[in-house]
């Protein structure tokens, strides 16, 4: 089956459960041989999308195209896809070997031949030594490897993984993550991986598809998603970003001045903005300058451009970084990340007043959310 890597294209893909639209006419092209992560909070439609690609969920509208064939109405086994289920769904009455050989057995492959193939794939995931065991005699990580071998044994063009790492402990998760990536590049096929962890998506993906409320918010490389989030939702979901919102209250040449919530003022390139427009912008938490204010806050009333004065509400020491939460009326979840050396040089404490500022080139204007949920 697996020849040249096959692109996957979702065209106006829609899923309705009764009157509820779980997936709302999404369009995306996943290049052949790439690692794609469908990322989003629970209930955003990512798993439903994966199941529609796999053929386990009837499609309400739109098409799934793999390579040059429209597989919308084809049964799962004829799509060239294989699915690795959340919690693995290994057959409890079959040994690892028989689990892996299952699909070959269904095709009518002889016992010797299918067992040989199964051993080969068990070796690939380093589970050959446990071939005779039953699934409930294995640890979660081992079960996952067997499930992986079972999915790969059919030589699929596309491997679909439904939250494959969520049941593992953190250490194992990172190890399996590396292994998934290694397997994907060795096999040269597309992996489509559903996850709610932005860290996982960033670490693995060539293409991150951020979903929210049944729609695609952004589909880009991890770096693009992180550096240039498309919407407030993406900026918040991807983490390590602060979102500030405000209204344009003055235009000076190519610069728009914005009055934000609370006492925040900032500027953005003017393009297309006019006075009265509301604007959302994001700034990475590590691109902020922070300086302690030693004297009384009243003296700094006349604040200059981009920035504000706030009180430190929380301090989290994370090793390489120290993350400080700031308290300012009108701003929620505003965080500053400082390298540990910089933080300890200043010796700040909770309750200290600080001046936060940024270079306006680091401020990234966000598009409107596709749909605001309140």
């Amino acid at each position: 089956m697996a020849g040249a890597p096959q692109d996957i294209e979702l065209v106006g893909l829609t899923k309705r459960f009764g009157t509820v639209e779980a997936v709302r006419s999404i369009n995306v092209r996943i290049p052949g041989g790439s690692y794609c992560c469908l990322l989003g909070p629970s209930g955003c439609g990512k798993t439903t999308t994966l199941r529609m690609i796999a053929g386990h969920e009837p499609i309400s509208d739109g098409d799934v195209v793999i390579g040059s064939s429209n597989v919308t109405r084809q049964p799962p086994a004829q799509r060239g896809t294989a699915m690795m289920f959340q919690s693995y769904a290994l057959f409890p009455h079959l040994s690892c070997l028989e689990n892996v050989a299952f699909s070959l057995q269904m095709q009518g492959v002889g016992k010797a031949e299918r067992h040989e193939a199964a051993h080969e794939y068990l070796r690939l995931v380093e589970m050959d030594a446990q071939a005779a065991r039953l699934p409930n005699q294995l640890s979660g990580g081992q079960q996952q490897r067997v499930a992986l071998a079972r999915a790969l044994v059919t030589k699929p063009d596309v491997l679909l993984l439904d939250e494959p790492l969520s049941a593992l402990d953190p250490f194992l998760r990172v190890r399996m993550r590396e292994e998934l990536k290694r397997l994907q590049s060795e096999l040269g096929i597309s992996f489509v991986h559903v996850t709610h962890s932005q860290e996982e998506a960033m670490a693995l993906a060539d293409l991150v598809v951020v979903m929210n409320d049944g729609r695609i918010e952004q589909a880009n490389s991890p770096r693009e998603v992180f550096e240039w989030p498309a919407s407030v939702f993406v900026a918040r979901f991807i983490g390590d970003h602060n979102v500030i919102s405000g209204t344009v209250d003055g235009l000076h040449g190519a610069t728009a001045w914005i009055k934000g919530n609370g006492e925040v003022r900032f500027s953005l390139p003017a393009d297309g903005l006019s006075v009265g427009d509301s604007v959302d912008a994001a700034i990475r938490s590590d691109k902020l300058q922070m300086a302690p204010i030693t004297s009384a806050p009243a003296e700094h009333e006349a604040e200059s451009e981009d920035g504000f004065t706030a009180t430190i509400a929380s301090i989290e020491y994370l090793g390489l970084w120290v993350r400080l939460g700031l308290d300012l009326p009108g701003l929620t979840d505003f965080r500053v990340s400082q390298p540990d050396t910089a933080f300890f040089a200043d010796s700040l404490h909770v309750g200290d007043r600080v001046r936060v500022s940024w270079s306006s080139s680091n401020l990234h204007r966000l598009g409107a959310d596709r749909k605001h949920i309140h």
Partner: protein, 285 residues
């Protein structure tokens, strides 16, 4: 668990143990004891330790004939109830989508049990009788010229009665097993390219084994011991072990009846032990 006071555990197990002792162990022990007693026409229980009753059971030709007939019934009924029970349970578990509908259909299956076994058996007579509904319909439509004689008071009627009575005992445990099957396993089978039949054969049947075993135990134990159905629908022409024991009891021959009962129990235990090898029933408990 508090390891220092193991007697608490024993205390907790005491009520059930007592119930078992009084209502199960003691009666069976008494039957065992009586099976070694002697008897005469006017002295029905003579304490003794004699193997005469067992010798009578094993030397009489009629014993083997009766066992053979009963086993034949048992096997036929088992096969039919298994096929029916599995199919109905499969339909209920995998094709009925809503839980409400499952409950409604399930209750429908239990409706025959709202009346007594005797009435349920007698109800077959107007249907299967010489001038019953089926014969009238067959003669009326000209399919047969004479009413069929083998419909009632025959082996056929007995089997119909058994299937009617015991299919539910197959449905319930198999349905229970099937409901425990993770639906994702079926998707995994389909993902692996299994057809509907292959999924049934390679996934559903193996995982329903405990239910099949429990249902089989019910059906086999009940058919082996039955005498009501054979009496009512067999029309006095057909023998069964249960009926043989009942006849002995009606002549007040308690020791030989006890011996026959022990032999029957031994056979049923052997059959159940064989079934237990086929499936791990403990998983279901």
């Amino acid at each position: 668990m508090d390891r220092s006071r193991p007697w608490i555990t024993y205390l907790q197990a005491t009520p059930l143990s007592l119930v078992f002792l009084v209502f199960f162990v003691v009666p069976i022990a008494m039957v065992v004891v009586v099976s070694f007693f002697d008897y005469q026409a006017y002295d029905i229980l003579i304490p003794d330790f004699t193997f005469v009753n067992y010798e009578d059971v094993f030397t009489a030709n009629v014993t083997y004939q009766t066992y053979w007939i009963t086993l034949k019934f048992c096997l036929t009924v088992w096969a039919i109830t298994l096929a029916l029970g599995f199919t109905i349970a499969y339909f209920l578990a995998f094709h009925v989508r809503t839980v409400t509908m499952q409950i409604v259909l399930f209750l429908l299956c239990t409706i025959p049990f709202w009346t007594s076994i005797v009435i349920r058996m007698i109800a077959w007579i107007p249907l299967l009788g010489r001038n019953g509904l089926i014969n009238n319909a067959l003669v009326g439509t000209g399919i047969v010229h004479e009413p069929l004689e083998w419909l009632l008071f025959s082996e056929f009627a007995v089997i119909v009665g058994y299937v009617h009575l015991y299919t539910l005992f197959m449905i319930v445990p198999i349905f229970n097993s099937m409901m425990r099957i993770d639906r994702r396993l079926l998707e995994a089978a389909v993902d692996g390219g299994a057809t509907g039949w292959q999924t049934v054969r390679h996934v559903i049947i193996p995982l329903s084994k405990p239910g099949i075993a429990i249902g089989s135990i019910f059906v086999i134990a009940m058919v082996m011991g039955d005498f009501v159905t054979v009496n009512v629908l067999g029309g006095g022409q057909i023998a069964s072990i249960g009926k043989m024991i009942a006849t002995e009891l009606s002549y007040l021959q308690f020791p030989p009846a006890a011996a026959s009962a022990m032999v029957l129990m031994g056979l049923v235990i052997v059959l159940i032990a064989l079934l237990m090898r086929f499936a791990d029933v403990r998983k279901e408990l």
